[in-house]
């Protein structure tokens, strides 16, 4: 397996590989999101308590799940950057952080839009809302720390440490906040056993979730390419690429 993986540590190969992935990710994300959102917005039944407002959930929940998943992915990239000194992991962290922050912001904003009709207020200091907000702060911290260093590889190592510290703290923050105050409904989707909702809502949700995941994948690949180019700007292959663009 290592032999198979080894060539991808070369920036040029990784650049071309992600370049090949992007159109696939884009296509799959487009198809899944159009099917999922069409089913979710037009076909799935309205909730008997929440009415039509439940439909925001097809964006809100995938964004919320991805916001946490991407932080975890960033921490894994950080670990491989620190332990195996992978230069590409540096680019991966810088690629993932803003996308993760964007999904966190989407989850917060759609949640606020849903909270206004249902809870009667845009914002409540509820456990899940608060820990999502703290997650956003953690993302901003990672982005700000990465930007503060002039030496990019030093900055990436610092960010790796911070991402790991953050990922250890995330569950602690989550549970302490939950204990502090809870109003949000419990998780209905992430239970692996029987999901406690109707299939007609579950299927569009799953489609939407994978659509969002592929969208995130495509965005991250695109940003990753940019980061790889920026970090290798003096290499001959990047120069050739730039010259080929010109012609």
């Amino acid at each position: 397996m290592w032999k198979w993986l080894h060539p991808y540590a070369n920036p040029e190969v990784a650049y071309q590989f992600t370049g090949k992935l992007i159109p696939w990710f884009n296509g799959i994300a487009f198809i899944l999101l159009s099917i999922g959102l069409f089913l979710g917005l037009a076909y799935s039944p309205a909730d008997y308590q929440q009415g039509e407002t439940v439909r925001i959930f097809y964006i809100h929940v995938p964004a919320a799940i991805l916001s946490m998943g991407l932080y975890f992915a960033m921490a894994i990239a950080g670990l491989s950057a620190l332990v195996w000194q992978l230069k590409l992991a540096h680019a991966a962290i810088a690629a993932i952080a803003p996308v993760g922050a964007a999904f966190t912001a989407i989850a917060l904003i759609t949640g606020a839009a849903w909270g206004k009709p249902m809870w009667g207020t845009w914002w409540i200091w509820d456990a899940r809302l608060t820990s999502e907000l703290i997650l956003l702060f953690l993302y901003f911290g990672v982005i700000a720390l990465g930007n503060a260093f002039e030496d990019k590889s030093q900055g990436a190592k610092a960010v790796s440490v911070l991402a790991l510290v953050g990922v250890v703290n995330l569950p602690i923050i989550h549970y302490s906040v939950e204990w502090w105050n809870t109003l949000h409904q419990g998780a209905t989707v992430t239970k692996f056993a029987a999901p406690s909702m109707a299939m007609s809502m579950y299927i569009p949700f799953v489609i939407c979730f994978f659509g969002c995941a592929f969208l995130a994948g495509s965005l991250i690949c695109k940003r990753f390419q940019g980061q790889v180019l920026a970090r290798n700007s003096l290499r001959p292959w990047v120069k050739q690429l730039a010259l080929a663009e010109d012609n």
Partner: protein, 228 residues
């Protein structure tokens, strides 16, 4: 080469050195304390001096002020050593970074948080804290402020090489302080209502030991990144 220092000797040497340096710069000890007092005064003035209002916000205000003044004093932890190069010498020593970093953090806690803990009852009285809350406040500060120093050291170690690390430091560290803040204020509030708060204290103690074991490693890794 003569045999290296034992771990205990190394720890004591660094601790003594840092305490001596801190005691020669008394401003560095006094200023965060003054800041602590001023923040609490500002809260009392801005919220209005109604005794029952003060009573309800007292635990939160005292803890937030303690947190901010810790943050203010943290920068001193590695900055001077970084600038005069002694930090790099420390990292080059054969002794594990864990021990050295822990000694520095302990020294920092002794000169900044300990006076703050001693001062806290006075400010609790000015904030009209319920008499039942004093012991809880003391215990939470005693267990909680070391966590602040330990976690804060990670942030300082990450930002020590940067010219403008101060604001960035607060962005990195304050979110990580939230669990301590929640548990500590909940404990003091529970105590003022005469309900048991041992559970809160136990979790704070657990966090303290967890960060005591893990944070120095993260600080060491971060210092290696910063000194390159």
């Amino acid at each position: 080469m003569n045999p290296a220092l034992s771990y205990r000797q190394a720890f004591n040497t660094i601790l003594k050195r840092d305490l001596k340096i801190a005691l020669r710069h008394r401003d560095d000890i006094v200023n965060p304390l003054l800041f602590f007092i001023i923040v609490i005064t500002l809260f009392a003035i801005s919220v209005g001096a109604m005794p029952n209002v003060l009573m309800t916000i007292a635990p939160g205000v005292i803890w937030v002020a303690a947190l901010l003044s810790t943050l203010l004093s943290l920068e001193r932890l590695f900055k001077n050593d970084y600038q005069d190069g002694s930090l790099e010498q420390l990292l080059l020593s054969p002794c594990p970074v864990f021990i050295l970093v822990l000694a520095k953090i302990v020294a920092h806690w002794l000169v900044t948080s300990l006076p703050l803990i001693l001062l806290a009852p006075l400010l609790a009285m000015m904030m009209n804290l319920h008499p039942d809350g004093y012991l809880a406040l003391f215990l939470t500060l005693l267990l909680g402020t070391p966590i602040l120093s330990l976690l804060g050291a990670i942030g300082v170690a990450l930002t020590v090489a940067l010219k403008k690390g101060g604001v960035l430091l607060s962005l990195l560290i304050l979110p990580l302080y939230i669990p301590v803040l929640i548990l500590a204020t909940a404990a003091v509030e529970a105590a003022t209502m005469n309900s048991p708060y041992q559970g809160h204290l136990a979790i704070i103690a657990a966090l303290f030991f967890a960060s005591l074991i893990t944070a120095p490693f993260a600080v060491g890794a971060a210092l290696k990144v910063s000194t390159n």
